[in-house]
Structure formats: C-alpha cells, structure tokens
C-alpha cells in the first residue's frame, strides 16, 4: 500500500513529547547501539522515520516502543542529538492514545487540563463520598475497627468495580493493540503460537527480564524498576483484590506475611520512586532528560499514595484514629484517580502494554519466521 507522506503528523505528535526528531539523518546508530534490537525489530530509527514521514498506519502497527526501557544509550551517542530514546517514550504515550478507544487517553495527553480536572473531580468525589456516607461515629475507633467497619464493604465494592472498569478498558485496548499490530498488518501467526506465547507472558511481566540488557555500564535501572514494579503490583493486588485480607483490624506481628509483604511493597515503591524523583530532578542521564507532565503527575500521585499509605499505617499503629481516618481519606482520594486515570489511560497503562508487546513480539517473530520458511521452501 502506498502511504502518503504526511508532515503534519509530527506536529500533532509534539503534544506527546518535547520535540519533532527532524535532526535525525538516519545513520542507524540508535538501532545498532540498542541492546534490545533484534532482527526485524529495529529500534528507534524505524519509528523516527515513521514519525518524520507521518506514516500513521505504520506507526500504529509498530509496537517497538513498548519493547524499549529507555536506557538512554541511543540518545547519548546520537550524532545528531535527535533523542531517539525520548521519541520512544513519546510514542508510548501516543500509542496508548491510539489503542484507547474511549478517547480519554488522547484527551488526557493532549489537553492537560482534562487530566487535572479528572483527577481533581475524582479526588473530590472520594472525599465527598466519605463526608456523605461514612458513619461519623466510627471515626473515633477507626484504628481498631479498620478491618471491619461497616463502610469497608462499600469501599470493597467500589474497589472491585473500579478494578473491573479498569480491566475492561485495558483488555479491550489490548485487543485493539493486537488488531493494529498483528491482525491489520496481516501477520500470519500460526495458531499454536498464541498458546506457546502465553507461557512467556507471566514471567516477563513479573521480571521484565529483557530490561536487564539495558543496564549497560553497571547502572541498576532494572533492579530499581523491578523493586518499584513488584512493589506496586503487590500493593495493587493486596489493596484492590485482597482488600479484606489486607485491611484487617487485627495488628499482626511484624513478621506476619501480610505485614512483610506490605513492607516490601512499600519499600519497593519508596525506593523506586525516590530514585525516579532524583533522576528526573537532576536530569543527568539521558532517560531523565525530558519529563512529560504525565510522568510527573504519575510519580507525584504514586508517591503521595505511598506516603499517605505509610502515614495511615503509622498513625494506626500509634493508635491515632482521627489522623488515621483523614489520611485514609486522602490516601484513597489520591489512589482512586491515580488508578482510574493513570492505569488505563496514561503512563501506568504500560504495565499492561509492555508484557503484551513482548507477547506480540513473540507472535510477530513466529509469523515472520514462518513467512521466511515458506519463502525458502518456495524458492527451493
């Protein structure tokens, strides 16, 4: 298919990132220096080309950006200072909005005020719902009945509904991702490979093992990311899925599994976040040179959530019901918009797209190798 070169696309894409990548003169350095580049999956340069030429269709079918963990090597050595790494970052934002059929993602990324508004509205809604529905008399013994006060059921229900909505949005978007990257470009994936590929997913999701390749010259982004990611996931599961098991009235011993898990998750979150904070603040390494508003928002909100969570925990142990209660509200008021906005529509959605991109990568490779084999057979 002949595509029309569209110079306006990148003007639009600027909204998802900081620059327009026109300096690139296609030496291929970024691709070659990238530790993750694989045959057929040519990292940044191909994407840069698609952006420069405004090849919208090709871009939508390109999931390379999800494979990138932004080690910054490419931007560091780029002879034209074209920042391919940041392009991948920006493209992840763009692709998120491409996959998202609801249109929220696009709205949040391109019109920042909407993201703020949504967050603030949700924030207020959460607080308001407490104000309206929370039985005031329980506040005084909030610390002792935290696991079985009557409002918990409501919170739990809300929790699950939120999880369901988020999951629905994410899953439907992943289907769109599959459509755009595999189906539409007509990669003929052998059916069996879909199942074989399934095995890959959980492991990858848990470990993000390919990220390790990016830790060239001894940087420990992977460890950092792993801590943050496992912490977050753990916390997410504990809070959203196992809320009744997590939020209990009884104070267990410090070595109880529940507390240990909680501490680990908190530590992971705190450590990962502060490393990110410091990095983005100093802008020393390539990967932290540019920060989109959405990056900051996400970090700040997650940090706030963690912080408030810790405080809730401390206050509760210190048996300070009022402080615990108010912080609990704030905690939820931050947590809810963070999960509702960030997870399906913004930065945090990569926790779903990344592992799936690896899955699709696996599928595409299988399709390509089959294609290659049949070509060879035809030639023979």
């Amino acid at each position: 298919m002949i595509q029309r070169v569209n110079p306006d696309l990148k003007k639009y894409l600027v909204k998802y990132g900081v620059q327009d990548w026109n300096e690139c003169f296609h030496c291929g350095n970024c691709t070659a220096i990238c530790p993750l580049t694989d045959q057929g999956f040519l990292f940044p340069r191909k994407a840069i080309r698609q952006v420069q030429m405004g090849l919208k269709t090709s871009l939508a079918s390109n999931f390379d950006p999800w494979l990138c963990y932004y080690c910054g090597e490419c931007s560091e050595t780029c002879p034209r200072d074209a920042n391919p790494g940041e392009l991948m970052m920006s493209l992840r934002r763009y692709l998120t909005s491409v996959y998202d059929w609801t249109g929220f993602s696009k709205l949040f990324y391109t019109k920042k005020i909407w993201e703020f508004l949504t967050i603030i509205i949700l924030f207020i809604l959460v607080i308001a719902s407490f104000v309206v529905w929370f039985p005031k008399e329980q506040i005084a013994n909030f610390t002792t009945y935290i696991g079985d006060h009557s409002f918990l059921k409501v919170i739990e229900a809300g929790d699950l509904i939120m999880a369901a909505v988020v999951a629905f949005v994410l899953i439907s978007n992943i289907f769109r991702m599959w459509y755009l990257t595999i189906l539409k470009p007509k990669y003929k994936v052998p059916f069996i490979e879909y199942f074989r590929g399934i095995y890959v997913l959980p492991g990858v999701f848990a470990s993000q093992i390919s990220f390790r390749k990016c830790d060239t010259d001894g940087r420990l982004y992977w460890v950092n990311h792993l801590l943050l990611m496992t912490g977050y996931t753990l916390m997410f599961i504990l809070v959203v899925v196992f809320l009744p098991k997590f939020q209990v009235s009884e104070v267990y011993n410090w070595y109880h599994w529940q507390r240990l898990l909680g501490y680990y998750a908190t530590f992971g979150l705190l450590f990962g976040l502060s490393a990110m904070f410091i990095g983005r603040w100093r802008k020393k390494s390539e990967k932290f040179k540019f920060s989109h508003l959405s990056d900051w928002l996400f970090i700040i909100m997650l940090f706030l959530t963690t912080l408030t969570g810790i405080l809730v925990h401390i206050f509760r142990l210190a048996d300070m019901p009022y402080a615990t209660y108010y912080l609990y509200i704030i905690h939820l008021a931050v947590l809810v918009p963070m999960i509702c906005v960030e997870v399906p529509f913004s930065k945090w959605s990569h926790l779903a797209y990344r592992p799936f991109s690896i899955y699709f990568y696996y599928l595409k490779k299988a399709a390509l190798s089959k294609q290659h084999k049949s070509k060879l057979a035809a030639a023979a």
Binding site: G28, C30, I33, Q39
Partner: protein, 605 residues
C-alpha cells in the same frame, strides 16, 4: 533619482548566548543616524512568518529598500524579498549587511559592523569602500607548514623568482600526504607524485628550507613582518651530514615513529622517512639518552664525519623579515580514543585510518602487508611483518565527524579515502571480506563518483549505516550496525576495524592565530576574508591561508589553494605594494568613502 529612497534597517542578530559578539544596540543607534534610514526593525519582534504583515508595514512606512544586518542575515532574505515584491518594490532591494561575511564577529568589531551597515545603506559594496592602505612589501615570503599546500605555495612563489622561507615543525617536509599510500581516485602512489616536489623544494635556490623550526612571534605589519623563529636543535649538522645512517644503526634508544603514525619504532637519531627532505639525520631530544642523562653518545663515536653530531647543541632563535606570510599548517587527525564505543586504544586491532595507511604502504613498517597489531619485547603495540593477516576488515566512516558529540562538521575526505583503503585492502588480501559502513557517501569530486562505482563492484560490502559499537568477541571484534537500506541489524565479526577519523584543527593553531592576528571559526579552522570571493585571504594584511588549516580539503583543493595563496603573494611582490589589514581602516574613512561612492553612483544614474 527624484524620489528619496526610504530604507529600513532590519537586525537579525541572534546571540545564542554568546556574549562576545557585535553590540547590536550600538549599531542600531548608529543606523538611525544614517540619512535615508526610515526605520529600524528587529526580526525578533517582526511577524516574519507573516509576509502580509510585513508587506503592510513596508507600504505603510513607504519603504523601498531593506537592509538586513546581522551575523548571517541571508537566512531572512527571502521573506523580505517576497514582501518587497508583494508591495510592488524590487525584490533586489533587499541588501545584506552581513557582519560575518566581512569579518565583524567579535565585540571589538562593532565599529566595522557599523561600517558594513553604512556601506549597505549607501548601496556601496563594502569591499569597494573599505580599501586598505598599501605599504611597501618586502620581497621575501614565509610559508608556515611543509605539507602539500605549503610545498605548492613555496614552489609557486620560488618559481616566480622570489625568496621563500619554508618553515616546518617536524624534521621533514611532506606533511600528511607523504604518509599516504595511494591517493584517490586515480590510485597513484602519494610518494611517486609528492617526492619529486619535495626534492624540488630541497634543491630550489629560492627556497630556504627551515625544518624542525617553530614560529615564536610575529611583529611588524603587512609588507614588513619580523618573524622570530625557534630553530630547534637537530644536534646534527645538516651541512656536513652525509646521510649514511651509521648513527641510526648504532643508536640504542627507540621511540615511536611519528611518520608511521606511531605503529612502528624509530631510533632517537633518525631520518623521518627514507625520502625525507632534507635527507639528513636529526636527534629527537626527548628520547635521546645523552640529552636525558649525559650518557651514551654512541652516535658521535660512529659518525664518520668529524664534528657532524653535536649532542650539546642548543636551540637557537633567529629573526627573519618577510613581506608576506602563507599559513599552511594543516590538521591533526581526530583522536579516536574519544569515541568510547569503538574501543580504540583498548582493542589492538581497532586502528585509525592513518595507521592503516601506513600499514598498507609498501614503504611502511610491514612493507605493505596488512597484519595484526602485536606487542614487541618492550611491550609497545606495533605492527610487525611476521604477524598474521586479518581475514575480514571493516571500515567505519565519520569517526568524530558529523557528530554533535565531537565535531559537527563533515571532514570531506573520509568517504573517499575509506573507499580507497577498502580497495587497497581488497587488492592486498583478495580473499578477505572487506566492509564499509557509511552514512552518506560523499564522493563529490572529479572522478570520485566513478571511483565509488568501481569499488562498489569489487566485492566490497558497502553498507549504509553507522556502526554504533565495537566489542571484543573471542579473537575477533563484534561490530553492531544497522543496514539501513536492507532494514536489518548487522552483527558482524571482523578481524580488524579501521576507523576513518576526521580532520581537526591543530592544537597550536590558536596560538598561531593570535601571533598572526588572524581569526578562527568555532571549529578552530582559520577564517578566510570572504568565503566566496577570497577563500585564501585573511583580514590581516599580507597573510594568506592555504590548505586544510582553512577547512577540511582533499589534495587537489589543497594544492589549488596553495597556488592561490601564492598568487596573492606574487601579485603584491610584482606590484611592490601589499594591502594592510582592513582592521586598520577607520569607520569615518569607510563612511565618508562610501558616501562619496554613492554620490558618484547617483550622478551616473
């Protein structure tokens, strides 16, 4: 000329954070005083993306002529030409007062910037108004640098029957060209075509060849420069040295050979290379055991000529008077160690193009055999004839060039010399796999494109794609690159990698520029008077530049520039007068002269 021409002066200077630039506010204040200037604009405050708006302003103010002033105002010319045309005026009436074009760059050039602007407003070409005074010229000429440009300039002037001092820092003339094996695109050997010229220099009665010398200081003015020269002690009397080489044979001290790009060893007493001119020995004081600690002196004992070697000889200072100076100091190759990813200096078989050039040279340390680098007894990494030959060689273009991290400019010659090296490698090792990695193939000169085609058909893999990194992989080197045209990743294992290093301004060029009163551009190359019409002149009177020291160049261009510089010199000698520096002309003079010329032009019309 019934109607008065209304001129708008528009400043388009962007400082980009530099502070030492022409003071625009001062020039603007001056501009307002020039008769005929209706208004002063600044591009920064103009809606330059909106020609309609500018057209409206032009019509409103009744402007018929626009002077664009600034460092390089040409970038804005078209929008104003279009607006003028739209307003019904002549598009030609956009005049550029380019400060850089006429040499006003720094703050202290502000007066000249004013003069440039004044000329533009009066409609008088700056070079017509700013005619420097002339002074008598001393007929002797100093040529600094004994590379091919310097040689060419010297011969050209000497052939015109004028005395030339040819000053060279090292022990021999010939420069980088002497180190090359073949030259592109005709592949004739560099030595074959260069050495006759070198011999001609050595034997020319009008050339006073001063090797192993450095410029210490320059005083005086155009036409009559006094140049203080440090004659570094060679410790061997060139007048009596008969070049027998006994001293070198017996000398116990070794040092890396500069001529062989330090891939082989020479003695402390040495001739830079067999065809060196002058073909006399000299002692490298930095490596001589005697100079170091007073012991040894073997060379004196074995020298057949009495009193030829004087190990205690001291450096000497001389002063010469010259009328013109030609600067042809050339370049230094880019230091490949700076590019971490390529591992030059870490991996013995990652070598620079200059080293490879010596390696394949029939007169080089391995007699032209391409071999692996090996360690000698003392642990020096050198090339030794007995080592094995690589089976695969990759050449990487643009090392240190076209790179924001190192040098932004293109070094102009690397594409071609890499093609040449690839060809020679293939010729010497027909079974070897030779690959080239490039970004854009710049084969622009006469016969170059044809050469590229020829090499392309010789079984050499020429791959578009910059190599990103080189790693060690067993005995081999693993090189990662993207094949842009093939759309695939290449991970190639090769035995040897040749880095096509770019050209850089010499370290001492800043010092020299200060001494001579000439300027350098941001890359360190010397500035020419006018990029277009005077590529070899400088703003200092009587000083011309030639060859790579003005910017990267290939041999024919360097030779042409060497000759071109000589032409300026000969012209001044024939006339007996040399133009002084235009820096010395006062603003008042230029202003009044421009006024006069403009009056004459008006009268003509």
């Amino acid at each position: 000329m019934e109607e008065k021409v209304n001129t708008a002066v528009c400043f388009c200077q962007h400082t980009n954070g530099h502070t030492d630039v022409v003071d625009i506010s001062e020039v603007a204040a001056y501009a307002e005083e020039i008769p005929g200037v209706r208004t002063v604009w600044y591009t920064s405050s103009l809606p330059i993306a909106d020609t309609r708006e500018i057209t409206r302003m032009i019509t409103e103010e009744g402007i018929s002529r626009i002077v664009l002033a600034g460092e390089q105002p040409g970038m804005y010319k078209t929008v104003f030409a279009k607006s003028l045309a739209a307003a019904g005026m002549k598009a030609e009436n956009v005049v550029q007062a380019g400060f850089r074009e006429h040499g006003a760059i720094k703050k202290f050039d502000t007066d000249r910037a004013k003069a440039i602007l004044a000329c533009a407003v009066y409609g008088v070409p700056f070079e017509n108004a700013a005619i420097p005074e002339e002074s008598d010229v001393h007929p002797d000429t100093l040529v600094i640098g004994g590379g091919i440009s310097g040689i060419q300039a010297s011969l050209e002037i000497a052939d015109g029957n004028q005395k030339v001092y040819l000053l060279e820092k090292t022990g021999t003339i010939g420069g980088h060209m002497a180190m090359f094996d073949k030259t592109f695109p005709t592949l004739d050997c560099a030595a074959c075509i260069l050495t006759p010229k070198m011999v001609e220099v050595g034997q020319h009665q009008n050339i006073d060849l001063m090797t192993y010398c450095e410029v210490l200081g320059v005083s005086g003015e155009a036409g009559n420069y006094k140049v203080r020269i440090l004659k570094k002690s060679k410790r061997v009397d060139p007048a009596t040295c008969i070049g027998c080489g006994t001293c070198m044979e017996k000398c116990p001290k070794k040092a890396p050979s500069e001529f062989d790009a330090e891939i082989s060893m020479r003695k402390a007493i040495y001739i830079p290379f067999p065809q060196a001119v002058p073909n006399k020995y000299l002692i490298d004081a930095d490596n001589c055991t005697y100079v170091e600690n007073g012991k040894c002196g073997i060379c004196v004992k074995v020298c057949p000529v009495p009193d030829c070697i004087d190990l205690d000889q001291q450096d000497e200072e001389v002063e010469i008077t010259v009328g013109n100076i030609v600067v042809a100091t050339g370049f230094k190759p880019f230091d490949a160690k700076r590019v971490d990813q390529f591992g030059y200096g870490k991996f013995p078989n990652v070598i620079t193009s200059l080293e490879f050039e010596r390696l394949i040279n029939a007169a080089g340390p391995t007699s032209g055999n391409i071999v692996f680098r090996s360690q000698d007894k003392k642990g020096n990494w050198i090339f030794n004839d007995e080592s094995a030959s690589p089976k695969s060689i990759a050449l990487i273009h643009c090392v240190g060039s076209r790179d924001e991290n190192y040098n932004k400019y293109c070094s102009k010659v690397c594409c071609m010399y890499s093609l040449k090296l690839a060809h020679l490698a293939k010729e010497k090792l027909p079974d070897a796999e030779v690959s080239e990695y490039y970004i854009d193939m710049r084969s622009f000169g006469k016969g170059y494109e044809e050469f590229y085609e020829r090499i392309d058909n010789e079984g050499i893999n020429i791959i578009r794609g910059r190599t990103a990194k080189i790693e060690e992989s067993g005995d081999q080197l693993l090189l990662r690159s993207e094949d842009i045209e093939g759309g695939r990743l290449i991970e190639q294992k090769v035995d040897m990698v040749v880095l096509a290093v770019g050209l850089e301004a010499r370290d001492d060029s800043e010092e020299l520029a200060k001494m001579l009163g000439i300027t350098q551009d941001e890359n360190g190359w010397f500035n020419e008077t006018n990029f277009l019409s005077d590529p070899v002149g400088t703003f200092a009177g009587g000083i011309t530049i030639a060859g790579v020291c003005q910017g990267p160049k290939d041999i024919p261009d360097s030779v042409a520039q060497g000759s071109a510089a000589a032409s300026r010199v000969l012209q001044s000698i024939i006339k007996g007068k040399v133009k002084k520096s235009i820096k010395d002309i006062s603003l008042d003079y230029i202003e009044s002269h421009a006024k006069k010329l403009s009056k004459i032009m008006e009268d003509k019309l």
